[in-house]
């Protein structure tokens, strides 16, 4: 199991420095705190959480766009920030990211051909324009932009949102990746388009055995895309629950996961109107600049135990096999 990990995070943390006001001093804001995680070859891990919980930062750390404050990111057992130039280049090839917004992630003055062929030339996969064209046509076909000849010399603004996101996915495939971080990759798309892009990602996963970190705020989409994989629930920079998707959805254990599942509005009137949302002690999310001591969910948690939850940070407990929960309710279970 351990050897199959393609990406492993060890005690990762990331802080940003922020200034408070014009005359205010600098403060350190911890966005990710002590995150450990491993993702195996070909696995799907869904990272869910609300805005500001650090899920996008986690994605950026994994693809090496930002450096961690402490801790390590291991790619096939090697620390990515302590690699030889050749190894780093092969890591960059193997690990790709698809961003949320297809309107800003594609350069508007480049044609699709240029967008997709640049990484191919950069990494020496093709040498001539003929080769590049052939490869780009193949990529466009693979993401169902057919006939590819109609798309190759278009500009991004000539495409719809769904088509642009397909181009962004095609770009992530140019270098035959083994791991893709999909950061809210379908959230901006319309309902009728969203699912076809999800199906495309599912198919690519099957055909190319790519591992996915699927970052989303949409639990229903995570459930659908990651049914055979795992879900990790993030709250204020920490993972509070992680386990096989069916277990986390059907047997949510952390109070925060429960609160989310009991609150989420669903597209079925009878189900959604019979929901009884959990009564939280507070509606406000604590500021990252001023995190509560102990378990960060304790000021909102209805199951909070005074003197325990506001003092100590809970470890990861394993109430059932492979299903981990960071909550004192599960200590010793």
């Amino acid at each position: 199991m351990e050897d199959r990990a393609i990406i492993r995070l060890e005690h990762l943390s990331k802080s940003f420095t922020v200034r408070s006001g014009v005359f205010g001093g600098r403060k350190s804001m911890q966005v990710i705190g002590d995150l450990s995680l491993s993702i195996s070859e070909g696995e799907v891990l869904c990272l869910v959480g609300e805005s500001g919980c650090g899920k996008t930062t986690t994605g950026k750390l994994i693809v090496g766009l930002i450096k961690p404050t402490s801790g390590k990111i291991l790619f096939e057992g090697q620390d990515i920030w302590d690699m030889s130039k050749e190894d780093f280049s092969s890591y960059r090839r193997a690990v790709q990211i698809v961003h949320q917004d297809p309107y800003s992630s594609l350069n508007p003055v480049h044609r699709i051909y240029n967008i997709l062929s640049a990484p191919l030339f950069r990494h020496g996969i093709v040498r001539s324009r003929g080769e590049a064209e052939e490869k780009v046509l193949e990529l466009l076909g693979r993401v169902d932009l057919t006939p590819p000849e109609d798309f190759i010399y278009k500009y991004p603004h000539q495409l719809s949102g769904g088509q642009r996101q397909r181009v962004a996915i095609a770009r992530s495939l140019t270098l035959n990746p083994r791991f893709i971080v999909a950061d809210e990759a379908v959230s901006m798309l319309d309902v009728s388009i969203r699912l076809s892009v999800i199906e495309l990602l599912r198919r690519l996963k099957e055909e190319m055995n790519v591992a996915f970190l699927f970052i989303t705020h949409d639990l229903a989409m995570a459930k659908y895309f990651g049914w055979e994989g795992r879900i990790a629930v993030m709250y204020l920079g920490r993972i509070v629950e992680i386990g096989p998707t069916p277990r986390v959805i059907e047997n949510p254990s952390h109070p925060y996961t429960k609160a989310l599942l009991m609150a989420i509005p669903e597209a079925d009137p009878r189900i959604t109107r019979s929901k009884k949302p959990m009564e939280l002690r507070s509606l406000d999310i604590p500021s990252l600049l001023n995190l509560p001591p102990g378990c960060t969910f304790n000021p909102r948690c209805p199951f909070w135990i005074e003197g325990v939850c506001d003092k100590e940070v809970p470890e990861m407990y394993e109430p059932e096999k492979d299903h981990y929960v960071s909550c004192f309710l599960f200590r010793g279970k």
């Binding site: 609300e50 805005s51 719809s160 769904g162 319309d190 309902v191 009728s192 388009i193 969203r194 699912l195 076809s196 199906e199 705020h217 639990l219 229903a220 989409m221 459930k223 659908y224 049914w227 069916p246 959805i249 609160a259 989310l260 599942l261 609150a263 989420i264 509005p265 669903e266 597209a267 079925d268 009137p269 189900i271 959604t272 109107r273 949302p277 939280l280 509606l283 406000d284 999310i285």
Partner: protein
């Protein structure tokens, strides 16, 4: 059903654009009854926001009502809103119909404190008594579960997304309108905040008995709050009915496609189906049913003539030639 309060009759709205005329709303007939929640569901470009903004006459400058009437019956003698002058509109908006816009942050003036914005709104409708407005504002802010003293003295950026949304809802209720239009009231909010806003809207409806028109792309909002649902596609209503008619007994292939494309969390795992293709260009529309190019039930006739809404059951209307063969297979 009860008395109608708003009647949109054969409404056409267009935008002029360098490429031509965008036919954003095409022949919509829609009634809103007293005390009901009506959800207007559709994807981007379906005309749902245009219809909402046309009702309170806040279309952008390139947009105009080409044809049709919007009759408001909240007062004794019905008014046709589409014929109102600017002056009449100023008196009408907020007082009779208020609207909560999509982006909670952009709806505020960033350099004015919340109190100034509330007072400005009240003053422009003739409420000049500062302490009276203050009292009213305090009441209404407390009603939407905010701490009035804190909120009134804050700038918009000092409030969280959910708080801003609650302030907007409070402001829209300040002049006790009879109709509230809410454009994507929960989009872009976190799940726990969404739930909070939904519960708040439920309480408001119960207490005040006003009529609400929700505009959203999100089926779950309709599932939560709507009494009736209207589904829009390419500028027209393609299906209209009670919330259970739409979610469990839909007879239009587009509505069914939408429902089957949205995953649920609590129900067991099920496969989903996507609708092929993409929505049409509203500038150069083809004749016939606008959904036909994406429809798996399409026949030769569908592309010649556009189907009209027909009643398939009491209060359940569908615009599809093949509605008899279509049913929700769930």
């Amino acid at each position: 059903m009860a008395e109608e309060i708003l009647n949109v009759e054969n409404l056409f709205v267009e935008y002029s654009n360098v490429r031509g005329k965008v036919k954003a709303v095409r022949g919509v007939n829609l009634k809103l009854y007293k005390g009901e929640n009506l959800a207007l569901i559709g994807e981007s470009g379906s005309g749902k926001t245009t219809l909402g903004t046309a009702i309170i006459r806040l279309l952008p400058s390139s947009g105009y009502i080409k044809e049709g009437r919007i009759v408001y019956k909240g007062n004794e003698n019905g008014y046709d809103i589409s014929k109102f002058s600017e002056k009449e509109l100023r008196q009408f908006r907020w007082k009779e119909i208020a609207m909560v816009f999509q982006s909670a942050l952009n709806s505020f003036n960033p350099v004015l404190k919340i109190w100034d914005q509330i007072y400005d709104t009240a003053r422009s409708h003739g409420l000049n008594n500062r302490s009276l407005v203050r009292e009213k504002a305090t009441d209404i802010l407390r009603y939407v579960q905010l701490d009035p003293e804190r909120v009134i003295n804050s700038y918009p950026h000092e409030l969280s997304g959910g708080m801003r949304q609650r302030v907007l809802i409070a402001m829209s209720l300040l002049l006790e309108p009879k109709i509230l239009i809410l454009d994507e009231p929960t989009t872009a909010l976190d799940i726990l905040t969404q739930r909070n806003i939904i519960e708040l809207l439920r309480i408001i409806k119960k207490d005040m008995g006003l009529s609400m028109l929700f505009i959203s792309h999100d089926l779950s909002l309709a599932a939560e709050l709507a009494d009736r649902v209207a589904v829009m596609y390419a500028g027209a209503i393609v299906e209209l009915g009670g919330v259970e008619d739409i979610f469990y007994r839909s007879r239009h292939p587009y509505t069914l496609g939408l429902i089957k494309a949205v995953p649920t969390v609590t129900a067991g795992f099920r496969e989903l189906y996507s609708i092929p293709g993409s929505p049409p260009d509203l500038i150069s529309l083809l004749p016939g049913c606008k959904f036909a190019p994406r429809c798996e039930h399409k026949e030769a006739g569908c592309e010649n003539e556009e189907p009209l809404l027909v009643e398939v059951n009491s209060g359940h209307l569908v615009a599809c030639f093949k509605h008899k063969e279509i049913s929700n297979g769930r």
